[in-house]
């Protein structure tokens, strides 16, 4: 219970820091790109005064002292009011994000599950065959794929598999002539379009899980209980999978935090390469158009998703580690 409470406090603390960082970035930077942007709004004259006010509060040119601004800002954030997008006017930032987010969650979610599962499995195999050819080739290969820039690998896959051989579509998340619905043909089209981006994310991120799991396994294989289990006459593979792997996976779960942030960052660039209509592609358009409200809204949403995913990983940790479940009383 105490563990759970600590995690909740950390969750809230992290969100608060992220929101506060987001609040101060535009205010701390020298020069004022926001004023340039507001001037452009005035020129177009298409925005209602209340929308303008919401944006000024979000971007830090509202009047009143910094504490009042901060209070207003927090109030807007907890109501998911991120103002109006400049690029996609008159749509609100929240509207744009809510239409892009499911694509990213699906893509990154599926890729991460496969990458974590396969990487962990191969890591166990590498540690069991330590020093053998299997181990050497797995570790060197994953050291190599681990440092692929995601977007570069995406570009190469796109060129050879889609452009030259036409095996996969070049852009988008579903066929251009389709409208989103729940028919099998649409779901098939989504899977067909999502396969290549998901595959490139998976290959670029699998190395981290593999190398981490291999390290943990080698540490755990030296424990006394392994010696005992072997002395009892249990088969080495049974010991490795049923005894050691269950302990070795724990540090990989706690390392989830950093890994996920890394994968999400990489997948943003992957989306740009594949013109996949998720958060990354939206962020790219926001950057190109200097759409600051949209950019900051997207940053916050990404943080919320990553922090929540970590929270879930922390809870899973409890399931795997009885010491934590018993409140560290063992």
């Amino acid at each position: 219970m105490e563990y759970f409470l600590r995690r909740v406090i950390f969750l809230i603390g992290t969100l608060w820091v992220a929101v506060t960082v987001n609040f101060f970035i535009p205010r701390a930077m020298p020069g004022n790109p926001v004023e340039t942007m507001m001037a452009r709004f005035h020129e177009r004259g298409t925005m209602s005064p209340s929308a303008m006010k919401a944006i000024t509060v979000m971007l830090g040119i509202s009047h009143g002292n910094i504490f009042q601004q901060y209070g207003q800002y927090l109030n807007h954030v907890v109501h998911f009011n991120f103002g109006v997008s400049y690029t996609y006017f008159p749509y609100s930032v929240t509207y744009m994000i809510s239409h892009a987010l499911p694509w990213t969650l699906g893509l990154v979610g599926v890729a991460t599950i496969f990458s974590f599962g396969l990487g962990t499995m191969f890591g166990i195999i590498a540690a069991m065959r330590r020093g053998k050819a299997v181990d050497g080739s797995l570790t060197i290969l994953s050291s190599f794929t681990n440092t692929f820039p995601y977007f570069w690998f995406g570009l190469m896959a796109l060129y050879f598999l889609s452009f030259v051989y036409h095996w996969f579509p070049l852009t988008g998340a579903y066929g251009a002539s389709m409208t989103p619905n729940l028919s099998w043909s649409f779901i098939g089209s989504v899977a067909y379009h999502g396969f290549l981006p998901a595959l490139t994310i998976m290959i670029s991120s699998i190395g981290g899980w593999l190398l981490g799991m291999r390290n943990n396994m080698i540490n755990a294989l030296n424990e006394d209980y392994v010696l005992l289990a072997t002395a009892k006459g249990l088969k080495p593979s049974w010991v490795a999978w049923m005894y050691v792997a269950r302990n070795a996976i724990l540090p990989n779960l706690t390392g989830f935090a950093m890994a996920l942030g890394f994968v999400v960052g990489g997948s943003l660039l992957t989306e740009i390469v594949f013109s996949y209509p998720g958060i990354g592609y939206l962020l790219y358009n926001a950057v190109v158009n200097e759409d600051f409200p949209l950019m900051q809204g997207i940053f916050l949403i990404i943080v919320v998703c990553v922090v929540l995913a970590n929270f879930v990983a922390d809870l899973a940790y409890v399931m795997f580690d009885p010491r934590v479940r018993r409140g560290g009383a063992s």
Binding site: N146, T147, W152, G255, Y284
Partner: protein
């Protein structure tokens, strides 16, 4: 930082003299076959970054060739949309990319040491606050934060990229170093130095840091790998200095002139492969440093 560098539980290094420590680390690195391969690859990249201008087949700024040529005997990697030789650009661009990678690594490692050692050695509420901040920044996804920072920053360019990546790349190292300092702090030789009246800064410089040199170096390599990847990502998005030759700016130009649709795949393939090989060499060297700080990971001598 490479996701794979999940740090092994810091083992208990023996108290050794700094000179001896450096020697011992070098010995373990070279005797480990993985880190030896890494050292050799890294050596090649550093040599190219130093002697690059002597090695380019053509002047990288010479735009008198036919544009968008595919790979051929005259142009191994083809030409750009401005008619420059890609091979020459690649060699000339190595220098900036290597410098960026190591500068980011140095800044991030320095901050990680500063924060990690302070938190671990001072303990108390200072430790609580610093550890909380470390964990928070560990969770915040790096690239989106970098994109937002870079968008607001005045001007564009490599030095800006290096600074913001360096200043956001410290948390992982800070966490690893802090836990190591916590175990070192109560060790006999540190207590002895304390009783002998040494100042805190002297204890940290003479007793603590030499005993976690391998962790510091592993952190530097990890941060350099992550730094290069982040820099390339930002350059690809156009936050760098496109007129300065580097692997990242090559990818930026290749993408912006639709190199793939024109069939000039070598222009994109080559810089990416260099990035992957450079990163791989650092990860492989890191295997050696893992073995130094955690003897269980050392290869059995053959």
């Amino acid at each position: 930082m490479s996701v794979g560098a999940v740090a092994p539980a810091p083992n208990t290094p023996s108290a050794v003299k700094p000179r001896g420590a450096v020697r011992e680390i070098a010995g373990v690195l070279w005797s480990n076959s993985k880190s030896r391969i890494g050292l050799i690859i890294l050596g090649i990249f550093i040599a190219v970054s130093i002697f690059g201008p002597l090695l380019t087949p053509y002047n990288p700024n010479d735009s008198n060739f036919q544009d968008m040529l595919g790979p051929s005997l005259q142009h191994w990697l083809g030409t750009t949309q401005n008619g420059q030789d890609v091979m020459s650009e690649l060699i000339a661009g190595t220098r900036i990319s290597v410098i960026v990678s190591f500068s980011v690594g140095a800044i991030a490692t320095f901050l990680a040491m500063l924060i990690g050692i302070t938190a671990g050695y001072v303990s108390g509420w200072v430790d609580e606050v610093l550890s909380f901040l470390t964990n928070v920044f560990l969770v915040l996804p790096g690239l989106p934060l970098l994109i937002v920072l870079a968008s607001y920053a005045p001007g564009r360019g490599m030095s800006l990229i290096v600074v913001i990546i360096g200043f956001t790349g410290w948390p992982w190292g800070a966490r690893v170093l802090r836990s190591q300092v916590v175990t070192l702090r109560t060790r006999d030789f540190v207590v002895a130095a304390h009783l002998a009246g040494d100042s805190i800064s002297r204890i940290i410089a003479r007793e603590v840091v030499p005993n976690m040199l391998s962790l510091v170096m592993a952190n530097f390599l990890g941060a350099s790998t992550a730094g290069l990847l982040a820099a390339v990502g930002l350059e690809f998005l156009g936050f760098g200095n496109p007129s300065q030759l580097s692997w990242g700016s090559m990818l930026y130009w290749a993408q912006n002139s639709s190199a793939l649709l024109e069939g000039q795949w070598a222009w994109i393939l080559a810089p990416g492969l260099c990035i992957a090989f450079f990163g791989m060499s650092l990860v492989l060297i890191n295997f050696g440093f893992d073995a130094v700080s955690n003897p269980r990971l050392q290869e059995e001598s053959k």
